[in-house]
Symmetry: C2
Subunit: 326 residues, 2 copies
């Protein structure tokens, strides 16, 4: 896994993924007491960065193998991305999703054309289930993060950030990354190592799901004890991946942790200051910039807002709780 694979993924992906905007807001800067830049992947196709990894992996398959279809397990963003990509390539897709995934994510994965199978997050092993069905149907399993082509695809976000940061004269910054299994984190870290070595990737996780933070501290793979229990559904992964971990350990700065409540507040402030919609697991980076200021030391901070697939009801609840009453 290296920078050449990321550059190659960018070539294969071409215009099928959007170069998302790099937003800032002087008023938000005041709130956060430093300059905050947002890489708004919630404005990406399928409303999350996951389309990058899915497109990279599907486009890398040999056509003969690809035509049998792809299968993925996903809390919903990788699933939508895979479903969307499979339709574009005109191949079948099957997505295994937890039964407690947001309705919007299940609906949209189906709308894009994939077959959806639900599993119980606490009882079933999705990895096992995925491998089993892949074998039965002769489809190729595209894992959500522990796949070099997926990591390479996510890394294309880093190529864009490196260019956008340079355009804005940002020479030194912490890059806060919402982190599940670490596919995006690892891809960004490799991209910055090659193109923007003064940008430091740091994982942000929800309370009780800070396996990557703890792994960085103990210098070995740590796992979460819980499998569910946070609204940040997109990033509730048990532990860093076998492929992502060595990259993360070598290149990433220390982790940050925020609460579900802080993630909801960040969604509301993201809406009010930037006019975009983020989902909880996509807003923890923004929450860290707002609520963990003492753990950030750079004048500029870049938050990757990784997704925007939130159910209307939860969004409304967040607005009721934290939004301006106007």
């Amino acid at each position: 896994m290296n920078i050449d694979m990321i550059e190659a993924a960018r070539e294969r992906i071409g215009n099928n993924v959007r170069c998302t905007p790099f937003l800032n807001s002087p008023a938000f800067d005041k709130l956060a007491s430093r300059r905050v830049w947002v890489k708004a992947e919630c404005l990406q196709y399928t409303n999350s960065f996951k389309i990058r990894g899915a497109w990279s992996a599907v486009s890398a398959l040999a056509p003969n193998r690809r035509k049998s279809g792809v299968i993925g397990h996903s809390s919903g963003n990788h699933g939508q991305a895979l479903s969307f990509t499979a339709r574009a390539f005109d191949i079948p897709a099957l997505v295994i999703m937890p039964s407690d995934a947001p309705t919007l994510k299940i609906d949209k994965t189906r709308e894009f054309g994939a077959e959806v199978i639900l599993y119980d997050r606490d009882l079933d092993d999705r990895e096992e289930l995925g491998s089993k069905i892949a074998q039965e149907r002769g489809m190729t399993l595209i894992k959500p993060f522990d796949d070099n082509h997926v990591i390479a695809g996510q890394g294309t976000t880093g190529l864009e950030i490196a260019e956008q940061a340079a355009e804005h004269g940002i020479t030194d910054a912490d890059v806060l990354v919402c982190c599940g299994g670490g596919g995006l984190l690892a891809g960004l870290a490799l991209a910055f190592e090659a193109h923007a070595p003064t940008l430091r990737t740091r994982p942000v996780e929800p309370h009780d799901f800070n396996d990557v933070q703890r792994s960085l501290l103990s210098r070995k793979i740590e796992s979460n004890t819980q499998k569910s229990g946070s609204i940040c559904d997109a990033i509730l992964t048990p532990c860093p991946g076998q492929l992502t971990w060595p990259i993360i350990q070598r290149l990433c700065g220390s982790g940050l942790v925020v609460s579900d409540r802080e993630a909801l507040q960040a969604i509301v402030l993201g809406n009010e200051y930037f006019r975009f919609i983020a989902e909880p697991g996509g807003a923890v980076s923004l929450a860290a910039a707002l609520f963990r200021r003492d753990q950030i030391h750079s004048d500029d901070v870049i938050c990757v807002v990784t997704g925007g697939n939130i159910d209307n009801q939860l969004f409304q609840k967040a607005m009721d709780q934290f939004g301006a009453k106007t």
Copy 2:
């Protein structure tokens, strides 16, 4: 007023205005039965395109005159833009706003630093009030649309659209523009005349406030009988401007009209498909693409979503009425 003034405005503005994203969504295309591209000025600084005209006009003032400050009358977006720009230039600003303007707009105009004076939309003449206070205080009045530097600033949106359309291989399209006094419409039309002659600007207005549509039909300036009564507060202007009208008449295609209800639906669909927040007066272009399909004849349509300054309460009302119940 010509293309050179628009190019000069772009030079003066530099990076102080954001090149906003040019979004599309395959799922939204299906809904609208054609390819829809959104120029998302709701993601602009101050959350509307008005910052372009304000920055253009303020930066064009002689420094000696500028330091006495600027004054503007505005339903809120021009006011915020002027307030934001004045703070950046470290000069005083005063904004005259209708008392029924959205609370968010009044609050944000004040937050950016301007003094705000409220007037009654039905009883007072804002033009007269503006001129009077400008004279008393020795401040320069920056009109919201009937000012060549303002039109030139808004025209910079057109330079970006011309480039973004070319990047996406769009060779022929109707460009739907939310229209009040026609400053943006006129600026876009001039930019396209010079750089993208196959893009046709067409105004979109709310029911009962279709002065520009009617003016284009009768080939002379027509006025609205009502002054209030639509939620599309940003574009309830009595008639096209003296400076904007000749440009509009010479270059623009026929107008389109949508209802307040359709504008609210467009806000909800803009949120659900693109994950941005538009305000009613900023969403009529998107509403026209959805609900006036038979009046559009190009395969590609470009909607300028001009602003996102909507009160939370109205947004929530729209979501309750038209949003998915998930």
